[in-house]
Symmetry: C2
Subunit: 228 residues, 2 copies
């Protein structure tokens, strides 16, 4: 499987004409990262834009007091570093690998050139940013008005939808997730995340096995997420 097959399978590159491919393809280079590696750090000057081919990455920010906040979890097809590459400021968050991955990188300069030459890329970038703004808005609302149980139920459901697969026992979230990760995604502490998820497990709403979470009773989880 060469870079071309990889790129063509990604939504980001849909709509590019056959002959334009030749010019585009060589601008991307493949890189591999291991679990826990950093792809870039918050505040760094944007060197490149990344397209995830396989694996999972979380984008997080740390606060002065050591508490981390996970802004998003990305998988195959997602872009990393878009904001910084286009406005030239530092990366707004740190990108850390949660499951070994392979990414395609394009230098900031090449990326800007590409977008100027092929309007279709500009539209793809707009689509990406738009999707993220929608989910940011939802995350803001959730943090602002919902209680911890609701937020955790919501995050589990969202992960199951975007990165889950069906198994006999339920819907499996296909990534290794610690309670700390869940806490950082929902603005709470490890202890509370543990308590809530233990409660979910006792209620037979979820199962957990070696870092993986399985949603057993999705309707009830949805009720909890929508509660009140």
């Amino acid at each position: 499987m060469d870079r071309r097959d990889i790129l063509q399978a990604l939504p980001f590159f849909a709509g590019l004409s056959e002959r334009d491919w030749e010019k585009v393809i060589d601008l991307f280079s493949e890189r591999q990262y291991k679990k826990d590696d950093y792809i870039f750090l918050e505040g760094e000057a944007p060197e490149a834009l990344y397209v995830i081919r396989t694996g999972k990455v979380k984008v997080l920010r740390h606060s002065t007091d050591g508490k981390d906040v996970v802004l998003r979890v990305c998988g195959p097809g997602n872009l990393l570093g878009t904001v910084a590459v286009f406005d030239g400021g530092g990366y707004p968050g740190t990108a850390q690998v949660i499951e070994d991955c392979s990414v395609l990188a394009i230098s900031r300069n090449d990326c800007l050139t590409l977008v100027n030459r092929y309007p279709v890329f500009a539209l793809a970038v707009i689509a990406d940013l738009g999707t993220r703004l929608r989910s940011s808005a939802e995350q803001i609302r959730s943090l602002a008005v919902e209680r911890v149980e609701q937020r955790i139920a919501r995050v589990l459901l969202k992960l199951a939808e975007s990165a889950g697969s069906d198994a006999p026992e339920g819907r499996v979230i296909e990534m290794p997730l610690t309670r700390q990760d869940v806490a950082d995604m929902t603005g709470t502490t490890v202890e509370t995340a543990i308590r809530v998820m233990s409660k979910f497990r006792r209620q037979e709403l979820i199962k957990t096995r070696r870092g993986r979470v399985v949603l057993v009773d999705i309707p009830t989880l949805q009720e909890i997420a929508e509660m009140r």
Copy 2:
């Protein structure tokens, strides 16, 4: 002052060549809104993209239990409805006028055409979305890890910076803000917003007169905002 002068003064239209103006200018129509008017509602199909000429608008989401969350506050030069116009989904939030305003509207179709024809507009849209994603990330972090006092101090400082003017008594936030608005911007309740701002007033960090807030002691407010 005709539409042309208005448009040219806005950052969104910088970089457009002289003769392209003729084709662009007629696509925009001016509309006036009064305080508390809705420009569009959450979930509505995107009819148009709006550029604020004068006045202030808040974008908010309501939750099922009646609690509102203010996602952003926009002023002159800001775009409204960008996400929905480009992805075709419903508006992600409700746009409500907080200070009488004049906006320039371009229909969704014309907007899409424009962006396809003039790449500079696509870049302006990308810039707008990027800025908003940065501030969303900051808002998420703030809601996730900071205490109410910090969040309120931070919001006041941000408003003073983006929409403030200097007066002898301090920096004035140039918009009518209720405690409810502040509460909706910081994910808390009216009562708590009132308590915190009363405390700030007693500490002579701020003054309030007829809905306007004046920041008297910015350094101390910054300390509070950065506090752990």
